[in-house]
């Protein structure tokens, strides 16, 4: 079953090439894109089952043995994240095909999207720190293209910010790699885990913090988050949805992977993580309250939710890490669904400014219901998946005696609910305040959304309910994942075995 591991990386890259070759026919491109991503969903599902049953699956690229060659490894965390990412990317691709202003106008959309899928999967599956850098760059380069696809003025401006910030993060990553290689003589994660433990304590902590900064920029934790609410909302809705759902979570994944696998207990910056988590939660949600644009509010709540995940990691207990794994699954699905609903609102009423949209509960009651489910889930109202993830995090925090940060998280949860209800009442319930106001930004309303946009949105909201309904098995899986991560010996022996 080893061929399963490189497939999520190789197949979309081949698909991207084919997509360019058949660029004259948009229909052929769509067939390629949907086929590739559907196959990957199946592959990832099988991978999750196999990995959960037999332990980590390792593939050495080109047959070169572990410390020399590039290792690809699928453990429980990587496998489940690949599965969730592929499902979301498939849903968003169908949505993008339905949306009239994104995929239709650009010959490069499909191939850039497939390269993005390959980069995301490669980031999850790689067992080599330098290869993680390469996978990040693959993902980011595709995201640069997707973000600036229209070439509009605001896209170019915010794309600039995004690219420059990402490039600085990448440069810091290369710097960290150079220093790590000088200190240990390897970039293979399993080998690094063994050799970092032999370094002096101060050096270990310095590396842990340096890598935290690098991935903190990608994951948008305080104080490195400011680029996110600037750049994400200017992209077309499906692009924003996939960035919001997946890209920041790749950063969180990299933080989890590096902090837990590479560094021994004493070197992990637990207090720093908890403090930044608290500030990230608060600043994110306060930013969301100040905004008027739907997409910007949702972008700020991403920052706030990232804080929750960093908090769970900061406990460094099995319960905390298990809660983070569950939150990752919940958040990728719910956040993407929210952005897709935001995109439908943008499409049907021609704008996403809260002050200009109104009364949608009359014209689009089903959309209102879906938004309410996703928004309440994000805020953590029982019995939805957000409640389970927050309850698990709070429970882990109380068990680990970190009461102040838990208290902050509860207050932020309340404020998140407030910001979601603010969207709900402005967009769906109250009449528009300034309907014919400063025109120019606003497009003519389209009335109703095509089926291809509604179908994936409904599917993702259904997925978010499924994450809550199947919380028992998923949470048990998360706990097994957390045990693997906190005791990485099975990961290390899987890579370094003779």
């Amino acid at each position: 079953m080893n061929w399963l591991v490189p497939t999520p990386v190789v197949l979309p890259l081949i698909g991207a090439g084919v997509s360019i070759l058949v660029g004259r026919s948009r229909l052929a491109q769509r067939v390629v894109g949907i086929t590739v991503l559907s196959l990957l969903v199946a592959v990832a599902a099988v991978l999750v089952v196999v990995v959960d049953r037999d332990g980590p699956v390792v593939v050495e690229a080109g047959g070169w043995a572990a410390p020399m060659g590039i290792t690809l490894i699928a453990d429980r965390l990587a496998a489940v994240l690949v599965l969730v990412a592929e499902v979301t990317m498939l849903a968003v691709l169908i949505y993008a095909i339905g949306e009239p202003r994104t995929e239709r106008n650009h010959v490069g959309f499909q191939s850039a999207y497939l390269v993005l899928a390959a980069g995301v999967a490669a980031s999850f599956l790689t067992g080599d720190l330098f290869n993680l850098f390469v996978a990040f760059e693959m993902m980011l380069t595709a995201s640069y293209v997707l973000l600036t696809l229209g070439g509009r003025h605001d896209q170019v401006r915010s794309g600039m910010t995004y690219i420059v910030i990402s490039l600085i993060a990448s440069t810091l990553f290369v710097t960290a790699l150079a220093l790590l290689y000088s200190a240990t003589g390897t970039v293979n994660m399993a080998q690094l885990a063994q050799r970092i433990a032999e370094l002096p304590n101060g050096v270990q902590t310095a590396f842990a913090v340096l890598l935290l900064v690098v991935f903190g920029i990608k994951a948008a934790i305080f104080p490195l988050f400011f680029w996110l609410p600037d750049s994400y909302p200017t992209a077309p809705s499906p692009i924003t949805a996939v960035f919001a759902g997946i890209l920041t979570k790749v950063g969180v994944y990299a933080i989890i992977r590096t902090q837990l696998v590479l560094f021994p207990d004493g070197a992990r910056p637990a207090t720093l993580l908890l403090a930044t988590a608290a500030v990230t939660m608060v600043v994110g949600v306060l930013g969301a309250l100040a905004q008027d644009d739907l997409k910007r509010i949702l972008s700020f709540t991403i920052v706030s939710q990232i804080g929750y995940m960093v908090m769970g990691l900061g406990f460094f207990t099995t319960a905390g890490v298990a809660a983070v794994v569950y939150s990752l699954v919940h958040h990728i699905v719910v956040k993407t669904a929210l952005f897709l609903i935001g995109g439908v609102i943008d499409h049907t009423s021609g704008t996403s400014r809260l002050s200009e949209v109104g009364d949608l509960v009359r014209t689009a009651p089903r959309l209102a219901a879906m938004f309410l489910i996703a928004a309440l889930s994000l805020a953590g109202i029982p019995p939805l998946s957000g409640f389970i993830s927050k309850y698990a995090l709070v429970d882990a925090g109380v068990a680990a005696h970190h009461l102040p940060v838990v208290a902050v998280s509860l207050v932020v949860s309340l404020l998140t609910l407030f910001s979601m209800i603010r969207i709900w009442s402005a967009v769906f319930w109250s009449p528009a305040e300034q309907s014919a106001g400063d025109a120019g930004v606003r497009r003519p309303p389209a009335g109703s959304a095509p089926l291809a946009m509604m179908l994936p949105t409904v599917a993702l909201v259904a997925c978010s309910i499924a994450v809550a309904v199947a919380a028992g098995p998923i949470y048990a899986f998360s706990q097994r994942t957390a045990r693997d991560l906190l005791d990485p010996s099975s990961y290390i022996t899987a890579v370094t075995r003779p």
């Binding site: 003025h153 490039l167 790699l177 106001g437």
Partner: protein, 134 residues
């Protein structure tokens, strides 16, 4: 040798950071170029260096460590690609605005001066209304 390379890397990082903090796009891009060169030099400094490259056969100890070189090469190629994309974007920005400076974010400013903006809109509306009446 190591001290020289470390010094070069430090200077590149310093100059790069300074240029990065400017407001014009061309300087930001040049700054990024210098910054990434600094990182690459640091990468070259890692491992066994200052010996012949890995060519032909011989005692492994006499060659320079090839891995950092391979890593640096990869990093250079990636940076090259991203920098060309940045240059294309800067050109696009210049075409659209005829200006090399990074513009303020419109919505950020709107949020910062919320009341002022609303007043302005009200003023504009009054102006339009009076013009229509006149």
């Amino acid at each position: 040798m190591t001290v020289t390379l470390a010094g070069v890397a430090a200077v590149l990082f310093g100059v790069g950071s300074y240029l990065l903090l400017q407001r014009t796009l061309s300087r930001i891009i040049i700054g990024l170029g210098l910054l990434t060169h600094g990182a690459n030099i640091l990468l070259i400094t890692a491992g066994r260096r200052g010996r012949p490259a890995l060519v032909g056969r011989g005692d492994p100890g006499t060659f320079a460590d090839p891995l950092p070189q391979a890593l640096a090469l990869t990093a250079i190629v990636i940076t090259f690609g991203v920098t060309s994309l940045l240059l294309a974007l800067a050109y696009r920005s210049w075409l659209l605005t005829r200006d090399d400076e990074v513009q303020d974010d419109v919505i950020d400013r709107a949020v910062a001066r919320h009341d002022a903006v609303e007043e302005e809109i009200a003023d504009q509306r009054e102006l339009v209304a009076s013009e229509e009446a006149g």
